[in-house]
Amino acid sequence: MPVPPVHALVFSLLLFAVGVLGVLTRRNAIIILMSIELMMNAANINFIAFGLRSHDLTGQVFAVFTIAVAAGEVAVGLAVVLALFRNRDTVYVDEVHIMKG
């Protein structure tokens, strides 16, 4: 018996909420990046669970694309943080504030 889609939905909603909370409350850029990954993986769980329920492969295909795109995003994100770290010596977003208004 497969896992019922409702269970998957509740799980993914929780995971998504954890991700959003992490983005909103954390100060470390790397941890914010990890929280964003949680949000995207919550969506992946939905895609696969819903696809399984309706016997549709699109969901799985979408998940594969999401994983690949997320990897690209991590690479760019790390590069951005690295450039900042070289100039400013910090990864804490609340210490980054030359521009205001």
Partner: protein, 507 residues
């Protein structure tokens, strides 16, 4: 079973292929042994410019001038790629925006000592993303091309590696941008779960209505809301605008110009495509949602712009306000009770985005030519006395400011006229009143720049030395703004022909 691949489909993506291949070529050439940076980078800039032109011409070559005038809707790659008048209109806008951006970039990057081939390759990759976005008929293509564009922009915003402002802008834009991507993606997953398809056309035809009546309706509505929020981030509508002022201020100015026009237009393409193909049965609901966003964006954008001393920041807030104006067209699409009203709304959106591209890139081009060694040139005060130092530049800025404010005889007025008309037609006249009041407010800060240029004494006597590329770009923008401000029929007809074909059940 449908066949996996139809060789004819490749024809449809020729313009994109041209750009992709030249982007790779530029990337490859930029690591070749130095022939001296001084001679190499301008060649790559030229190559990038030529490739956008080639891509533009390949439309004509592929489909002929006649087909360009009345193109049929062609669907390729099993429904993932749609080539219709609507997508061609936006592809033309994106290519023109990219071309203008490339023209104004070279001199600026030399001053910043960041003139490398990668910059042009990234611009081209961003354009490829936008062009696929305009043609996307499926959530998978939408997501992948949106990310192609966004990832290129994250890097472009942080392109000045040793500049702290650029680093900071890139970090903020990246974190909030990918946050919005996460929200957007989760929204898509819920929509997929309730409608069991990612093809926009299929959602619209019957499944959106079905999903609304099933017990899963709240999940579907939540999905639509999350998709809206994700896109609101991309168009920088209030309250999802926090990244825009910082990203616009810190990014290299040509990138800011491209970001505020190309990327915004691209987000509106998706908005128009998703909402009028997929979610039209919910028109009433999302139109209300967009109306709130529009009022908030217009008001906050214009009021905050008054307080800015940095002109890039001021234009950022103005760009937030303009996103609010354009949303009014989409509201008419959602609320209209006749097909005619809906099409009028779409036409207004298309027209405004085309005009805004030229006007805004023109305005940023003026900020770019003020940048010299030792002078950032991005404060409003830097425009003081420009009319005496460089009368032509001052005149150009005057035209762009008036056009952004929507003064008659400029193209900006035509765009606003149609947007305001659209909401009146949709019986949302109060929104038009709000927009008119906001236009009046915006006049104040646009006029401040003009007053600085014409009424104040210049701070220094340094002459401006724009490159010929910058001259051509500014000239083209002025010509567009004035010619189509006085004689708008051609662009109105172009927008009219290009609106998305709405299905008969739209009424």
């Amino acid at each position: 079973m449908t066949s996996l691949f139809n060789p004819n489909d490749v024809r449809l993506i020729t313009p994109e292929l041209v750009l992709t291949i030249s982007a790779f070529l530029i990337l490859g050439l930029s690591v070749l042994p130095d022939l001296g940076r001084k001679t190499w980078a301008p060649v790559l800039a030229g190559l990038a410019c030529v490739s956008t032109l080639a891509s533009l011409l390949s439309f004509v070559w592929m489909f002929g001038l006649e087909a360009l005038r009345t193109p049929d809707m062609t669907i390729g790659f099993n429904g993932m790629f749609i080539l219709d008048a609507f997508s061609i209109f936006f592809k033309v806008v994106f290519l023109l925006a990219a071309m203008l951006t490339i023209l104004v970039s070279a001199r600026y990057l030399e001053v910043e000592r960041a003139h490398t081939g990668e910059y042009y390759a990234l611009i081209l990759f961003a354009v490829v993303g936008m062009m696929f976005l305009a043609s996307a008929g499926d959530f998978i293509t939408i997501f992948v091309s949106l990310e192609t564009m966004a990832l290129s922009f994250y890097i472009l915003v942080g392109f000045l590696k040793t500049n702290r402002k650029s680093n900071e802008a890139a970090l903020k834009y990246f974190l909030l941008g990918s946050f919005s991507t996460g929200i957007f993606l989760y929204g898509i997953s819920l929509v997929y779960g309730t409608t069991q398809t990612t093809v926009l056309g299929l959602i619209g035809i019957s499944r959106a209505k079905m999903a609304l009546q099933s017990p899963a309706a709240p999940i579907f509505v939540l999905g639509v809301i999350l998709v809206t929020v994700g896109l609101a981030f991309k168009i920088a509508a209030v309250p999802f605008h926090m990244w825009a002022p910082d990203a616009y201020e810190g990014a290299p100015t040509p990138v800011t110009a491209f970001l505020s026009t190309g990327s915004k237009a691209a987000a509106f393409v998706v908005l128009a495509r998703i909402f009028s193909m997929g979610f039209l049965p919910l028109g009433q609901r999302w139109a209300t949602l967009l109306a709130i966003l529009a009022v908030a964006s217009m008001t906050l954008g214009n009021v905050a712009a008054i307080l800015q001393e940095n002109i890039k920041r001021m234009l950022a807030y103005s760009s937030i306000a303009h996103a609010g104006y354009v949303l009014m067209g989409m509201i008419a699409v959602g609320l209209g009770d006749t097909v005619e009203t809906r099409e009028y709304g779409l036409k207004a959106v298309l027209l405004y985005l085309l005009v805004y591209t030229f006007v805004n890139i023109g305005a940023f081009a003026l900020v770019i030519i003020l940048r010299r060694e030792q002078v950032a040139g991005d404060r409003v005060a830097d425009f003081a006395g420009l009319s005496r130092r460089a009368p032509w530049a001052a005149f150009a800025m005057l035209v762009f400011m008036l056009s952004l404010a929507g003064i008659p005889a400029t193209a900006g007025f035509i765009g606003k006229w149609f947007l305001f008309g659209a909401v009146v037609k949709a019986h949302y006249a109060w929104l038009a009143v709000v927009a008119v009041i906001n236009s009046a407010i915006s006049l104040y800060y646009y006029a401040r720049v003009v007053v600085n240029m014409y009424m104040k004494a210049p701070e220094g006597a340094a002459r401006l030395a724009p490159s010929w590329g910058q001259r051509v770009a500014i000239g083209a923008c002025i010509a567009f703004t004035l010619v189509f401000g006085l004689y708008p029929q051609p662009i109105i007809a172009f927008a009219e022909r290009s609106i998305l074909a709405l299905a008969p059940w739209a009424s």
